[in-house]
Symmetry: C2
Subunit: 327 residues, 2 copies
DNA sequence: CTGAAAGCGCTAACAG
DNA sequence: CTGTTAGCGCTTTCAG
């Protein structure tokens, strides 16, 4: 390039010691003029070299829950100079599979996955070869691996107990597709609280398959149109809550409005006075990243399973009493 | 590996023609057993080979506006098998610069940037060498390049005109740091509408430097505590609007609540009846990706500048009349 | 249909 | 302090 060997260029540009100030300077200016940059791909191709990317597979980057996770991961790994490759699976197992394969072909240093349903044993071979995988939000199927979860059952139980304590019995549940583990866990938690209280009326008010706000809105309307409508609603994710709020927004102020508790907080949750089961997506992403980094650093301990707490935030909607309680 | 040459393996695994069914089959099973995968890094290192990653630099992945952009970009590039490397700049020009350099070292196929302020001519050398760069949301400084913008001035003007038409004169403006082009454009649009209407009272109600909801909340409180408070508010981004809504939420229902229009829509915007200047972040990301892909495909036309429309969505908060208008 | 050789750009190891 | 060599894993080119 300017009379020096490639190795000297490498040393200078990487700020390694054992290069004279003068030579380094010359290399720097020459590189700047020629627009020369070190090629990270080549660097990472070398034998024994580790890649500096981390793969993240989430459901949908545009959902605040998942973008929060992504932000937490990014924040943590960037402190180590690692970059984030993100992809949305749309909750499609086949897409998750092909994206996973793509990430591995790219030799990501670690793979963080919010798993959709499906068998995840297809990663076992790679894990044995040293691939770091951390699952988020939902446990993988047929696999023992590091995983960061929410206390889904506990949160749902807290929601149910809260509503029960205000005298509600006819409590409707609106949730996502039952295929998702989070959905099932939340439903199980809810169910256990209801059973403990000896309440059975709610079963007829269970609505699933609502994957977006629109569907949840329709569910809410049909529930409230029943001859004996529910006196309370438990919406099991952020978009389900959004749908319910759209219906309740214009509800007549005659005391007939159902109580509402939603899983996941909302950006304007405090403004609309919606009671929620709150948690911290960004911290969840951060923890997953920390776990992955520990594995990269050689942590060989048994698979870790972290369950993050949830908190009931009472803001009003969950504290409305039933209008005409039948028990 | 199993008696075949590397080239045959390459051919088989890439599904190239001119490999016998039988051989291909053998390679496939052997690869599966050994957990062998093609190395994309090596592939992309080859001379003339193009990388299959696209870099995206945004302010903060956790802000729905930017995660929407990211989603739009991802959706579009994934159709071509390209993956997204995302990084948050926190609106820090120095960080933007170092992240940019990092992306280039990784040989991203294209770089999409929401620029913070600063001189962006440092990318010119790389652009001349064929690097595809598309700017989003804000124009770069001192550079002529492809850029996808919002009609910031037009949107702000529409907000001002709307409030003016309802009789407001004392209109407060709450905005982000003036350093940001979007802020200045919106303010300029607002100002032009006010000037055309011959209104000057608003200048004393201008508040900037509110980069989050918390600061905007404080601004709103102090504004409303003035001896002659504003009768309307124009909040210039999503988080500023959120802050204002927190204050207005518990405002006495005596007709003294200020009108409110916010720039950017909010997830629960329809539930809280907030009037907004709405636009489509995901489409913006998609357009940027489309532009970048066209350049990659050889489009050599002059730099393209797309201005995306905004729409005023009247939901109630922007249609409140002033309590005791002074004009 | 299959294989051998070359080279992408980098850095570790080993000389000067 | 600086240079040489080798090899990471892939695919293009050219020969079988």
């Amino acid at each position: 390039m300017s009379g020096v060997s490639v190795k000297t260029v490498s040393r200078a540009l990487n700020g390694e010691p054992y290069v004279s100030q003068e030579t380094a300077q010359r290399v720097w200016t020459a590189a700047a003029q020629l627009g020369f940059r070190l090629n990270v791909l080549a660097r990472e191709l070398r034998s024994g070299a580790a890649s500096t990317t981390v793969g993240l597979l989430i459901g949908d980057l545009a959902n605040p829950f998942w973008s929060g996770i992504a932000r937490g991961v990014e924040r943590e790994i960037s402190r180590r100079g690692l970059r984030l490759i993100t992809a949305s699976t749309d909750e499609d197992p086949a897409l998750e599979w092909s994206l996973t394969k793509d990430m591995l072909d790219r030799r990501v240093r670690a793979l963080l996955v919010v798993p959709t349903t499906g068998d995840h044993s297809y990663l076992e071979a790679d894990r044995r070869q040293g691939l770091t995988v951390v699952y988020l939000d939902r446990p993988p199927s047929h696999v023992l691996a590091d995983v960061i979860l929410l206390d889904n059952a506990g949160g749902a139980r807290a929601a149910a107990d809260h509503l029960l304590s205000y005298g509600h019995r006819r409590i409707a549940v609106i949730g996502d597709v039952p295929r998702l583990n989070t959905h099932r866990e939340r439903l199980a938690g809810f169910r256990s609280a209801m059973e403990r209280a000896g309440v059975t009326e709610w079963e007829q008010y269970l609505r699933t398959e609502s994957h977006d706000a629109h569907a949840a809105e329709a569910d809410t309307r049909s529930l409230m149109a029943m001859s004996t409508p529910p006196t309370a609603l438990f919406t099991m994710n952020n978009w389900n809550t959004t749908g319910a709020l759209r219906v309740l927004k214009d509800w007549p102020n005659d005391g007939s409005a159902p109580a509402l508790i939603g899983f996941d907080d909302l950006d304007l949750g405090d403004v609309v006075n919606v009671s929620v089961i709150e948690h911290d997506p960004e911290e969840m992403g951060r923890l997953a990243a920390v776990t992955a980094l520990a594995r990269i650093d050689g942590d060989e301990g048994p698979p870790r399973s972290v369950v993050m707490p949830t908190h009931l935030v009472a803001r009003g909607s969950g504290e409305r009493p039933p209008r005409s309680s039948s028990s």
